[in-house]
Symmetry: C2
Subunit: 213 residues, 2 copies
DNA sequence: CAGTGGTCTAGACCACGAT
DNA sequence: TCGTGGTCTAGACCACTGT
């Protein structure tokens, strides 16, 4: 009896669709608790795993977040705006929570971009920024010659699901992607002189770029 | 017996970690088939649901992709580069697969940005671009007065998990985020005269922006 | 056709959070 | 303490893919 009743869709998808619609209709507001596994088992006459699966759908969509021992709650979206520009990281609304400077060997892709030998040791700075106590941005800066000043920047943006390590560092609930920005600074002669790798909690950020024709 | 043996971590996470490491070590290359549910059940002496859960982890991380009736396969990443600039969409390497132009009422946020009345009807163009037969970009353009030419653009980027509708349109496997770009064009007097909303398969794209100091 | 992943059941024990 | 979600078992039937 995999597909009883009048519907052809799996039960868990139908339950998930009901919940999703209720959220979008405003029946549940951000922070509200959704019906739990036991509620759904009773309401839809399904097994625990099926109810779990339905709630799992909303979580992997980023619409809900489970808190162990408490329930499943509607997530909220309050984005920080980051303006792409010469400044790099704008620190308003976020607080620097950790900073480390040490001599390290950069990863091969960075050493390559900076035209360093693969085993070169240079000063590296690690930063962590938080909002409301939650980390939202990790930054690693590579700048072998701090004296030089960049006059042009390129930012490359890639969006993906986090590694388990990143999910832990940024305390990301399931269904939250990360934005990875590689920011490269160039000297007037066109040489790359600094690289900054940023990892952002995608649910906390909205990026903004402007340009004239 | 939720946590037998010497490990404190759940079984499914341990299995997933083994597989993840094997992928990252190159034991399985992009496109290769991973051990299936039956293989994992036998190798680790676990129930089907536990093996499934382990394979599910790799899929929600975007590292693997299940093909029904065939197996679970390592995903590949071959990004298209999109340069932010006056051009909007660069069509090299992607093909226009569908285009519709019609008179519609834009969503409230767009009507607001363009200073239109909420019920205004304007020409709207929908485009779909594909690479190797797979859709990678959906575009909707709002341009109430085609005669005007924009001299400045702003792009706002947001990354999130797709709605089920978007996942279907872009044929996204689980664990694939989307990038949403709202591109606004401004006339010399500063008024917004066009809005273009793009939805990108994040696993297919790498965005690039440049600026001088 | 045999093998695969997809869905589902009906139980069980656990760790955690709120009360 | 009690209810919550988290993990796990041992079965089952299905739809799909490849040969």
């Amino acid at each position: 009896m995999a597909n009883p009743g009048t519907s052809r869709r799996p039960k868990y998808q139908r339950i998930a669709a009901d919940l999703r619609q209720a959220v979008q209709a405003g029946e549940y507001r951000p922070g509200d608790r959704l019906p739990g596994e036991n509620d759904l088992m009773a309401a839809y006459q399904v097994a625990r795993m099926t109810a779990r699966q339905a709630l799992g759908v909303l979580q992997t969509e980023g619409l809900a977040e489970a808190r162990k021992g408490a329930g499943v709650f509607v997530r909220s979206f309050r984005p920080l705006r980051r303006r792409g520009g010469p400044d790099g990281i704008d620190t308003h609304a976020v607080a620097l929570d950790g900073a480390v400077e040490e001599q390290r060997t950069p990863p091969p892709t960075v050493a390559d971009a900076l035209a360093l030998s693969p085993a070169a040791v240079i000063p590296v700075r690690d930063h962590r920024f938080v909002r409301d106590g939650k980390p939202v941005l990790l930054s690693t800066s590579y700048r072998p010659q701090p004296g030089l000043v960049a006059v042009r920047f390129r930012e490359e943006i890639h969006c993906r699901m986090p590694s388990s390590e990143e999910a832990q560092q940024l305390r990301l609930p399931p269904g939250t992607p990360v934005i990875q920005i590689r920011r490269t600074g160039f000297a007037p002669d066109g040489r790359a002189i600094e690289v900054n790798e940023l990892t952002l909690d995608a649910s906390s950020y909205l990026l903004e770029y402007e340009f004239d024709v």
